[in-house]
Structures are given as C-alpha cells and as structure tokens.
C-alpha cells in the first residue's frame, strides 16, 4: 500500500515546527506503524534528509516509549494498543496520515515527535511508592491478599506511563496516570499506611507540572493502550477527600 504522511518536524525545543509531507510507498499490511516510519526514514537518509525522530524502544507495547497522535487519535485508531502495536492493516491504500507529537504544556517537544515526559517521573518521585527499604520485608505469604483485590490492583498497575491519557484529554490532564498509581497502591494492604501522604503529594506535583484538571470526559481511559478503567480516578478522589478529612491541619 501507498500512504501520504504529514509529519510534524521540529528541530529542537525552541525551534518553530511545521508539517512536512512524505510518501510511504510499497508498505506491507503486516508492517507495524513504527516499521513503516523506519522504511520512510531509511529513504530519507538515503536522500540526505534527516530522519524523523520518534521515541520507541521495546516495540511490544510495554515500555511506554512510543506515542504519537495519529489522525487525531493518541496511538492511532487501534483500541488498547500502543503505537508500536498498531499495524498498517488498520489503514487503507492511499490514506493520508497526520502524525503529531503529544501536545501538552507539561510535555514540551524535544524534537519532531519526541516529547519530554519527565514530569511523570517527578510525580512518581513525589509519592508513587511504598516506603520500604531493601531487606527486612516479612515473608511474602505473611499477608494474604484476596485474589480480587490483587486483580484490581494489577488492573491499575498495568499503566505503562506513555502519556496517551494526557495527549488525548482535552484538558491535558494526567489524572489517569496519577490515579492508576494511587489506586494500585491504595488497593493493596501494603500501600495503606502511606495512602494519605501519597495522594496529596502526587496531586500537588501533578498540579505543579502544569497538567490540566480532570473533567471526566473519559477520553483518557478510552485511548489508554492498557485500558486502565475510569474507576481509578474515582478512587483517587476518594483517597484525596479521605486524606483531607484525616489531615491534622486546622481548618
């Protein structure tokens, strides 16, 4: 199949970017989307033009590196898949494909389709953990955890930190990302001792980074490659209310 691409090209953080047209020729339907870009890039290099920069690593949908806005959708048209898991069979011969980087103030473009998602790491550093030092942990079976609790924890823990939630949200809100971690840890007994501190710290950092506020459009969950459910966001709010109610600070 042959495709027309319109790709956002931007030399660096401070440069002004623009869309550039490329043709992708003789692409097999079994090719992955990123492999299609590889093919285009090889041709560009041969022609002496700089290849399109994009983040990618594992190419099996788990590292969360890749992510682009493809024809108006985060990670493209395939539901429940990261960009690397999108295959060209999702497109038709002759299609025009517009490829843009994630757009959010908190995710500045570094180059072309590569954005800076370090805000996510800072949110995690603020509270996305259980404070246990190495060593001294009790036997793993000392604390039985009901199977359904464990299952619901892993539903939330499946987040790959790709940023599609932010990209798809009209408010560029990172609530799904933050809530997934809050819910993962709040659902497990090991996470309960720090639950109030954790949710307060993570929400504060999320705001500090300049993400928008969640207005429940549910776009994040719909576009999430791991299909993290909306109930994690509700859980974050419950945790937040609880943390406020229990805080020692005077009203």
């Amino acid at each position: 199949m042959n495709l027309h691409l319109k790709v956002w090209r931007q030399k660096n953080k401070n440069a002004k970017g623009k869309f550039v047209d490329y043709e992708a020729k003789d692409i097999s339907t079994d090719t992955s989307f990123l492999e299609m870009l590889d093919v285009v890039n090889e041709e560009l290099i041969k022609k002496g033009e700089e290849p399109i920069a994009f983040d990618h690593d594992c190419r099996e949908g788990i590292c969360g590196s890749c992510g682009m806005y493809i024809n108006g959708r985060a990670h493209g048209p395939q539901v429940g898949a990261a960009t690397c898991q999108l295959h060209m069979r999702s497109f038709k011969d002759g299609d025009t494909i517009v490829i843009e980087p994630w757009r959010a103030k908190a995710f500045p473009v570094i180059k072309d389709l590569v954005v800076d998602r370090s805000a996510f790491d800072r949110i995690m550093a603020a509270g996305g953990f259980i404070s246990v030092n190495t060593g001294g942990a009790p036997d793993a079976n000392a604390l039985p955890i009901p199977k359904d609790v464990q299952e619901s924890a892993i539903d939330a823990a499946a987040c790959i930190g790709c940023g599609a939630c932010v990209a798809a949200c009209k408010n560029a809100s990172s609530m799904l990302f933050v809530s997934a971690k809050v819910a993962h840890l709040a659902r497990l007994p090991q996470g309960k001792p720090e639950r109030e501190k954790r949710v307060m710290a993570m929400v504060a950092q999320m705001e500090e980074e300049g993400f928008g506020a969640c207005t429940n459009t549910e776009a994040c969950s719909a576009e999430c490659p791991k299909e993290i459910p909306m109930d994690v966001i509700a859980q974050l709010r419950r945790e937040y209310i609880r943390a406020f109610a229990k805080s020692e600070e005077k009203v």
Partner: protein, 646 residues
C-alpha cells in the same frame, strides 16, 4: 582448590570464599569490611542502566546512604527492557509443597546451564531468591494469588516443580515498576540524581581503578564527565548484535563494550540464548521479534505435520498426522524442556521442511487441548494478554488457530567477567544482571533473569560494594583529572568521525548485514567453517562501516542515527568476538551448539575435560587478537552429567 584456580590464570581470581557451599555467602558477608553509616554519604556511586539490576542497586545503595548517580538512555528509568519480561520470576519458596528447595533451584540452574556456571554464585542466587519475593511484595508488586490470598506459582521450562511467581503476563513490568518506584523515592529524597537520555560512552580508569564515566547528553549532545568511587554497569545483554531479537530497539552493548576496551574481560560471549517461542519473521522490513512467554508451554502443545510441505491448514491435519516432537522425544519434560533444547528441535523440524505458515518458518503451539480441558476462560485468565498480543501482530486468533512460533535471539548468558563480588577485572567497576556472565552458564532457565537482576541489585552489591570501598584509598580523582579530559576528547573524536564519513549506507543497513551473518553462522547451530566465514565477513562489515556509514545531522541535538551508529560499531566488534569465542569452544553446551560436537541423539555434547571453564577475553586492540583467560569451573557439589530431559 581455589588457590589452584588462581595459579592457573593470573588476574582471574574468582574470589569465591572457601567453606561449605551453603555457608559461603553468609561467611563472606561477615568478612566483608563495613563502612560506617555516617561515612557512606562521602562516597559517590555511578549506576549505568535502570533495569531490574540497575534500579534495585541504585535504590538500595541510596537507602544505605551512598550518593548515587543513575543513568539511562531512555527518557525515563521505567522504560528499561526488563519491563518486557512476561512470564515470571523463580524463587525457592516451596510454597507449593512440591519438593522445591534452595538446593534444588541451585541444582536446576547449574544443570540447565549445562555446567558452565560458577557453583558459588548460583547457590547464592538460589538462596537470595526467597528474599526477592518478600521484598517485591512489600513494595506492592501484585503477584498472582490463589483464592485464599496466598501467592500462586506456575511451572517453567527445565524444572519439575512450580516455583515461578508471576503477575499476569507482565511480571517484568511489575517487578521493574517496584524497583523503579524505590528508585524514584530516593530521587525524591535527593539521594539519587537521575540522568535520563544519557548514554555512557566511556569508563575513566586511572591506575587500574575505575574513577568515573563519560556520558553523552542525548538531547544537547554535550559530552559530560562524572566521577565516582565505583561504577556499576547494569546495562543488560547484547542480543541486538543479531539485529533481530526480542530485545528492545535501544538495547545495546556499548557500555559493556567500552568497559571491555578499558580492561574489563568479556566472558563467554558465544553463550547466547535463542528463545523457542517467538512470533516468526514476516518480512524484510521486520525491526524486531516479539516473544511469546515460555509459560505458554505449560498448556500449549508444540507440533508440526508429519509430512514435509504439508500445506493444509492446521485444523485439517488429523491427529495421527501430527508430530508432537517435544512430547515424543522428551517424555518426562515434554513441552517444558529447557529453551536451548526446544529451540534446536524447532529448527530441526523447520530445516526438515516441516515448517508451517506461509513462509514455512515456524512450528505450531496449539492450545486446543488446553481449552477443551480447562475452558477458554481459564486460558484467557492465564494468558489473555499474550493471546491479544499475538492476535494484534499476526491477525490470527490463537483461541481458534494454533500459534505459529519460531526461535529468536533473546538473552545473552555471556557478559563482562566478574568475580564473586560482581567486580570486573577493573577495580571499582562492577557488572550486574544480564550484563555480567556469572550465573546462567551456557543456558538460562526461564524466569531466572529477573531473579538474577534483582538478586544482584538488592542483595549482593549492597554488601560487596562496601567491602570494596572500605579498602579503597581515599585519593579523590575528580572530573578535572587529565584522564577525564582525555577520555572525553576520545569520545568527541569518535562522534566527529562518525558524522564525517558521510558514506552511502545507513546504520540500519549495516546492522542488518551484521545480524544476517550472526544468525546464519553464529546462531542456533554453529560449525568451524561457518564461524571462520563469519569472522572474515564481520571484518568486512567493520571496514565497510567505517568507510560507508551515513550519519546525518550533528552532535549538538537529539540525533538517533548517531546514537545507533555508535552502538552498531560496537556490535560489529562484539560480533567478531562472539564468533571467535564460539570457534574456540570446541564442544557443545547449552545455547552454544557446535554441529561437530553432538551426541548420537543430536543433543549437545560437552567436553568437560577441556572446556569446563569460563572463557574471559581481554581486549588487545581492534585489529589484534584478544587474549584468553580461563577461569576453571570447580564443581564441588554437583556431578557433571550429560543433561537429559527424557
């Protein structure tokens, strides 16, 4: 015994403590010198890589009080390729009451590795495995549970007990996120300074002691110097030397290779693992191969049609015309034979013309029986995400049609030679996880990589690094030392050279050429002629590379071609060493199968008389022959036997 090892090969002291196997680690920990808690903050430790080994080491060292600088080439520490491990992590917990023990895990690992691993290291690994599970659960890793709330286990290849802990098909992800969260906690506490999008390009060695690194900031191109009292390489394996592998696209050997060029020894590079269950190649554009977890072999049955070139669709092939070749040849382990055995057998079937699929390059992994026996829901619960992943890639539904699988390069048992303390031949330079060579011998058992990475990071290095630092003379070598300037200038020179060639071949083209040679001649079956041919071809590719590579753009920007070019240059040099190592090892063992050395039943035939050693190669110059150092492997506890999974 130990002194004998020392005398046979000067400079290769494995530092394995004396005493009984079960007591070595405990005694060693006691004998290691300690550093006063208040003094720990005076030491700076550099950790390269943030996978299971790197993240766990950086977090644990910071918790102890050391100042840590952590580097990764990805945009976030959470993306290291440990995240992609699917199946599980072994631990000798014996929660299933099925006869497991530390000794059995040790024994299975030594045997699975075809007796080419160091006993003491493997025993320590088995011993620590139980602590890992405890630690991870405390961090909130959601391992699978039984209805009663206790932890569940599954079986993996090469073992007859259920000792594998798992979190759906995303165990690596959950373990890494656990280690990553511990790391981020220390970042928040300012005990770890993170350097994302930084690639280590050289080790700075002064008077035989590692004093720091040179790294390139991949966004600005700046060549940075970082000094430290110890450098930990936790940079994973080198499977991408084959171009197509299950590794992440960014996985590379550069850090380990540059360490090798600075005096660390590279051990057993030819011990590469070809994983039996991967999705076969579909076309020339293929950029990587996707693994289907080994756990699938718990319930899936591997078969091919009995008649070569049988073009019927699988459901049209009647039961009596199918060959369940693993079950037929290995009745006691059946589909759960170790990876090397499973892979070689699949290759044998495909080479015999019995391959399935359009390109006849695969064997079936069939779940029809399991679905009938356990129900589709049960299978979905166990493997749902793997089935989805398969369907997405191939457009075929494995609930209805058997999966097509074929072996692919997956893991590398070889790596930097380290002693019992995980220190390389360069003082102060340590290697952890897949980056070192120590624990898996010639073949790694499934679910043992995660175990090793975390054992090294959480429970070994925090002790052994103290022992090293306590004896290190406090003569600070900082970034102003001429050795840093020199190393930085060399790196700058290399970058400039790559950018100035302006040839006519892209980096990927050259990488594919290398990969083809590696796969054809240094792959699942090797022979003298092929290996010699490989060595000469790789030399040709190296010359071609430095004449014809085309790297556009400049250094002072995000330049992915430049990053790749540096890595491929190292892969090419490594490829040659892999082939040389494979050529010198005139025996078959584990993942290293030399066609000249096989039993009558086509199994790997070891030569314990002459090759029961780890081959540690010392760099002598790009165009010079590397020097071989042998670490004789001493087996005091297990008896070397021909592996049999029948």
């Amino acid at each position: 015994m130990l002194s004998e090892v020392k005398s046979r090969s000067a400079g290769l002291d494995s530092k394995v403590p004396a005493g009984k196997l079960e007591e070595k680690w405990t005694n060693h920990k006691f004998k290691l010198k300690l550093i006063n808690p208040a003094n720990k903050r005076k030491y700076n430790i550099i950790v390269i890589g943030t996978g299971l080994a790197g993240a766990s080491a950086a977090a644990s060292l910071a918790e102890l009080g050391y100042n840590v600088k952590s580097f990764c080439f990805q945009d976030s520490a959470r993306r290291a390729h440990s995240i992609a491990a699917q199946g599980g992590i072994n631990a000798a917990k014996n929660y299933q009451n099925d006869g497991d023990s530390v000794y059995r895990l040790f024994y299975d690992t030594i045997k699975g590795g075809d007796y080419r691993a160091r006993e003491a290291n493997v025993y320590r690994l088995a011993e620590l495995s139980v602590n890992i599970i405890d630690q991870c659960v405390a961090q909130g890793v959601p391992f699978a549970r039984e209805y009663g709330g206790l932890l569940d286990n599954r079986s993996f290849g090469g073992a007859q007990v259920s000792r594998t802990f798992y979190a759906r098909g995303q165990t690596g992800q959950q373990l890494l996120l656990g280690a990553y969260s511990a790391l981020m906690r220390q970042v928040g506490l300012k005990k770890v300074e993170m350097f994302e999008r930084h690639e280590m390009l050289d080790i700075v060695v002064v008077d035989g002691i590692a004093r720091g690194i040179i790294a390139r900031n991949m966004v600005t191109g700046e060549i940075e110097s970082h000094s430290g009292d110890a450098v930990l390489l936790c940079t994973g394996g080198y499977g991408n030397a084959y171009f197509l592998s299950t590794n992440a696209k960014g996985s590379n050997v550069t850090a380990a290779w540059r360490a090798y060029k600075k005096g660390a020894f590279f051990a057993n590079p030819c011990f590469t693992q070809i994983h039996p269950t991967c999705i076969p190649v579909t076309g020339h554009y293929q950029s990587k191969l996707t693994l289907m977890s080994e756990s699938l072999r718990n319930d899936g049955r591997v078969w091919v049609p009995k008649n070569p070139s049988d073009k019927r669709s699988p459901d049209q092939v009647p039961e009596n015309e199918r060959d369940y070749f693993l079950e037929r040849k290995y009745p006691s382990f059946g589909n759960l034979v170790p990876r090397d055995v499973a892979s070689r057998n699949a290759k044998e079937q495909v080479d015999a013309g019995k391959g399935v699929g359009e390109r006849m390059n695969a064997v079936y992994l069939d779940f029809a029986d399991a679905i009938e026996r356990l129900g589709a829901d049960n299978i979905k619960e166990k493997y749902g995400n793997l089935f989805d992943m398969y369907k997405r890639i191939t457009d075929e539904d494995p609930y209805k049609v058997p999966m097509r699988i074929y072996p692919a390069v997956h893991y590398t048992m070889g790596g930097l030679w380290v002693d019992y303390n995980l220190m390389t031949a360069v003082s102060g330079l340590f290697a952890l996880g897949e980056c070192n060579f120590s624990d898996h011998g010639a073949n790694r058992l499934g679910a043992s990589a995660l175990m090793q990475g975390l054992a090294d990071g959480y429970f070994v290095i925090p002790y052994t690094i103290g022992g090293y630092l306590a004896e290190l003379k406090k003569d600070k070598v900082d970034e102003k030392h001429p050795a840093f300037t020199e190393a930085a200038n060399n790196v700058k020179g290399d970058v400039k050279k790559l950018l100035s060639i302006k040839g006519n071949k892209t980096v990927d083209e050259l990488h594919r050429e290398l990969g083809q040679v590696m796969w054809d001649n240094v792959g699942m079956a090797r022979n003298e002629k092929g290996l010699k041919e490989a060595i000469s071809k790789i030399k040709g590719i190296r010359e071609d590379f430095w004449k014809n590579v085309k790297v556009l753009g400049e250094n002072e920007e995000l330049n992915q071609s430049l990053e790749k070019a540096g890595r491929v240059a190292d892969f090419i040099e490594l490829g040659e060493l892999i082939a040389k190592d494979a050529l010198h090892r005139k025996e078959s063992c584990g993942g290293h199968f030399r066609e000249e050395y096989q039993t009558e039943e086509n199994e790997a035939k070891r030569d314990d008389e002459n090759f029961a050693y780890a081959a540690a190669w010392e760099f002598k110059g790009v165009n010079a022959e590397p020097e071989l150092h042998k670490e004789e492997l001493v087996f005091e506890n297990v008896q070397l036997t021909q592996r049999s999974y029948k």
